[in-house]
Amino acid sequence: MTMFRYAKTRLGAALLLAGTAVVPALVGVQPAAAQVFTPNAQIVQGLQTSVDDVPQVSAEALRGLAQAHMKYTGPPESRPPLAVQLDQLAQINVEIVFDLNSAMIKPESYRTLGSIADAMHNPVLLGYKFLVVGNTDATGTRELNMKLSQERSDAVVEALSTTFRVDPRRLQSVGLGEEALQDPKHPDAAINRRVQIFNVGRAGALAQQ
């Protein structure tokens, strides 16, 4: 199976907010902006949240929605979207390349992982929690895609929290398998294979460990 090579980095492209009043503040987030950013600055910018009243999204709730979604047995393009307002969260899509049918992150993606860690340690983002979400395309069985995507998002969180010292209390991991396709009309397209990172709000004060 050739599933789950993540899509090209599309930093900041998915950052949408419901309130029109805050839209002007987001103009600079567009990837086409003239200013050249380092990847780290792009990640920081993509993950910055401009509103405090973001929808509450927990890993458990998202996992439950994905499991429930597996009852739709038709072809991928006929299934309804996941009933969750993730679009309202500050988020980035990143390309992390895994070994075939494995949760091993290939060395070519180490630098990307380090950049995500640098962003999470950036003063602008230090006070926030993040959801790391793995997605596959629709190649292979749904059950295996679900299991593999969870193992892969777990591997990302483990590297961030141990090697790169992001406080594990700021991180949650969810695998959505093929239940939240980016491009349902092309269920096997590479764009579906992606890791998403969502800013899920303030971490609050965390006791020193």
Partner: protein, 144 residues
């Protein structure tokens, strides 16, 4: 020559943790830089000797150490030093909370330890925080 330069960078990164006041430039390298160096020098070795293992919990690092005799010269010479760069950055970031303890209490009242806003507050108060705190912030990569 490249390896010598890398080793020197590692030494500088380690030495940086001990300097009380330094130039306004981070003396530790970013996680992205260190991780990129590991991939650059050891990517092939990792795929050959450590396939299936991940960076987390130092699984790849332990594997490289266990396979020391089989590694390419570039990886053998550098993987420990690269790991030290990551450790130096982590130590520098942790050190900020100790070095800047008094500054935080003085200039960031209301923020409790563990609040992610403390570093932002210290940076905003950069004109008045102590020189040692400023150096610590810079060394951790938080500086300008």
């Amino acid at each position: 020559m490249r390896f010598a330069g890398l080793a020197l960078a590692a030494v500088l990164a380690l030495a940086g943790g001990q300097l009380a006041v330094g130039p306004a430039k981070a003396q530790t390298v970013s996680y992205a830089q260190a991780a990129g160096l590991l991939a650059q020098h050891c990517g092939g070795d990792i795929m050959k000797h450590c396939r299936g293992l991940n960076l987390g919990n130092n699984a790849v690092g332990n594997c490289l150490a266990q396979n020391a005799a089989q590694l390419t010269p570039a990886c053998a010479a550098n993987h420990a030093g690269i790991r030290e760069m990551t450790e130096a950055r982590a130590a520098a970031q942790k050190q900020v909370y100790k070095t800047c303890d008094r500054d935080a209490a003085q200039f960031c009242p209301g923020l409790v330890p563990g609040d992610g806003n403390i570093v932002s507050c210290l940076l905003e108060a950069s004109k008045v925080v102590s020189a040692t705190c400023t150096a610590s912030l810079v060394n951790a990569g938080y500086g300008q």
